[in-house]
C-alpha cells in the first residue's frame, strides 16, 4: 500500500468514526428530547436494585464530597442545574428508583455529554445516589438545558 493510499484510508476511517458517533447524538423523537428520558431506559435489573448504603450514616456526607469533586461543575451547586447539565432536583430524578440513577452514573449518557462514571468504585456511586436522593425536589434554574 502506498503512502497516499494509507493516509487516505486513515482519514476515511477517522471521518467514519466521527460521522457515526455524531449521527447517534441526534435525538430521534420527542421522548428522547428530554434529558431525563434516559432514566427510563434503565434495565429492570438495575431499577429493582436497592441502595446497599441506604442505612450507612456517612453515605450522604461522602456522596456530597464526591458530588462537589465530580458533578458540581456541570450540575451546579447542590444539583440545581447549570449551563452544561440538567437539574438533579427535578421530579424525574428524585422519583426515579435509586438503581436507575446508579445505572445512569455507571453508563453515562455519552451522546449527550454525560460522562461514564464507572471509574468510581461501586460504593462511591451508591454514595452519590444517597446524596442525590437526600437533596429532594427543587425548581431547576430557567437557563438549565435539562428543563424538559
Amino acid at each position: 500500500m502506498k503512502l497516499n493510499q494509507f493516509v487516505i484510508a486513515c482519514l476515511l476511517l477517522f471521518g467514519g468514526i466521527v460521522a457515526a458517533a455524531t449521527s447517534q447524538e441526534s435525538p430521534k423523537g420527542p421522548e428522547s428530547n428530554s434529558v431525563y428520558a434516559e432514566l427510563k431506559k434503565a434495565p429492570e435489573k438495575y431499577r429493582s436494585k436497592t441502595n446497599p448504603l441506604a442505612n450507612d450514616a456517612d453515605a450522604v456526607a461522602a456522596g456530597g464530597v464526591l458530588f462537589e469533586e465530580h458533578c458540581e461543575e456541570c450540575h451546579g451547586k447542590e444539583g440545581i442545574g447549570g449551563k452544561k447539565a440538567p437539574s438533579l432536583r427535578a421530579e424525574e430524578v428524585q422519583t426515579s428508583p435509586p438503581g436507575a440513577i446508579f445505572w445512569i452514573l455507571s453508563n453515562g449518557v455519552v451522546r449527550k455529554k454525560m460522562p461514564v462514571w464507572s471509574k468510581l468504585p461501586e460504593p462511591e456511586r451508591w454514595q452519590l445516589v444517597s446524596y442525590l436522593k437526600s437533596l429532594g425536589t427543587a425548581t431547576a434554574e430557567s437557563n438549565s438545558p435539562g428543563k424538559p
Partner: protein, 264 residues
C-alpha cells in the same frame, strides 16, 4: 502504558508533565519527557497532543517531536468488556526515548545511539490500539493490542500492554481530604513488543513488568510514579516513569464563553 476505557470528561483539559528515566547498557542513562494537553472533546472522544524531548546524560538535550492521539469509545453503555479505539499520528526523530509503549523489535541497544546521529532519522508513524477494559469489584483490568505502521514503507509492528489497578479504598470519606485512601490507585503493568509482520513473536523483543501508584487529589492534581523492570536481556534494566498533571474542568466552556463575549 496501558490505557483503560475511561476518557477525559467533556470540556475538561488536562495538562501533564511526564518523564521516563532509563538505565542504558552500552551508553548513557537518559531522562525523556513529554508535555501533554488532553482534552475531552465529547464524552466519547478524547484528543491529546504531546511534545517530546529527552536528555541523555553526557550527551545532549533534544526536542524529539510531537504526537497527536485520539481515543474513541464506540459503545454507548458500559459492558463487561469495554472497547476503545485509539489512533495516533507520530512525527518524531530517532532520538525519541519516551518509551510510552514498546512495539516491534524495540530493544535497549536502539537507544544507545548518540543524539546527534539518532535525531537525523525521521519517524512518521500511525499507531492503532484496541483497548479492551473491564471494571470488576473495584478492579480495572485492561488489555491493549498495538499495531504501528511507519509511513515510510516499513512493515507493521506489534506490541501489547496489560494492566490491573485498584483504588486503595472503595468508599469515599465523609469529609474532604487529600490523604484518604480512595485518592490512591495502585496497579501492575506488563508491556512489550511482538515483532513485526515478517517476524511476529517474542524473538528479539523487549518486555517490562512495572508497578504504579497514582495519587488523585480532589483539587484536580494527579501525581504518578511507575517503576518498571526489564524482563529479558533486550530490555532496559530499569525504567522509572513519573508524572504530574492538573485537570481544568470546564475549560471548553470557558473558551467558548470568551468567543461569545466578543461577538456580543
Amino acid at each position: 502504558m496501558a490505557y483503560d476505557h475511561n476518557l477525559e470528561e467533556p470540556g475538561s483539559l488536562e495538562v501533564e508533565y511526564f518523564s521516563t528515566f532509563g538505565t542504558q547498557r552500552g551508553g548513557s542513562d537518559f531522562h525523556a519527557y513529554w508535555a501533554e494537553l488532553e482534552y475531552g472533546a465529547t464524552a466519547w472522544w478524547t484528543t491529546e497532543l504531546y511534545l517530546d524531548g529527552q536528555t541523555t546524560f553526557g550527551d545532549s538535550t533534544v526536542f524529539t517531536g510531537y504526537r497527536w492521539e485520539n481515543r474513541f469509545r464506540p459503545l454507548k453503555n458500559e459492558h463487561l468488556i469495554n472497547p476503545v479505539l485509539y489512533l495516533e499520528f507520530e512525527n518524531t526523530n530517532g532520538a525519541d526515548k519516551i518509551l510510552k509503549e514498546v512495539e516491534g523489535h524495540d530493544v535497549e541497544s536502539d537507544y544507545a545511539v548518540p543524539n546527534a546521529l539518532a535525531r537525523q532519522e525521521r519517524t512518521r508513524e500511525m499507531e492503532f490500539k484496541l483497548i479492551l477494559s473491564s471494571n470488576f469489584r473495584g478492579w480495572n483490568f485492561t488489555e491493549n493490542t498495538i499495531a504501528t505502521k511507519n509511513l515510510s514503507n516499513e512493515p507493521w509492528e506489534f506490541g501489547y500492554a496489560l494492566g490491573a489497578s485498584r483504588p486503595l479504598a472503595m468508599k469515599g470519606a465523609a469529609h474532604r481530604c487529600n490523604f484518604c485512601r480512595q485518592h490512591f490507585v495502585a496497579g501492575v503493568e506488563l508491556y512489550g513488543g511482538l515483532g513485526d509482520r515478517y517476524s511476529f513473536g517474542l524473538n528479539n523483543t523487549s518486555h517490562y513488568l512495572g508497578t504504579g501508584l497514582a495519587w488523585n487529589l480532589p483539587t484536580g492534581w494527579t501525581f504518578r510514579l511507575e517503576p518498571s523492570f526489564g524482563l529479558n536481556g533486550n530490555s532496559h534494566q530499569f525504567l522509572l516513569r513519573w508524572g504530574v498533571s492538573r485537570e481544568f474542568s470546564g475549560f471548553g466552556n470557558m473558551v467558548s464563553g470568551l468567543f461569545k463575549g466578543r461577538r456580543e
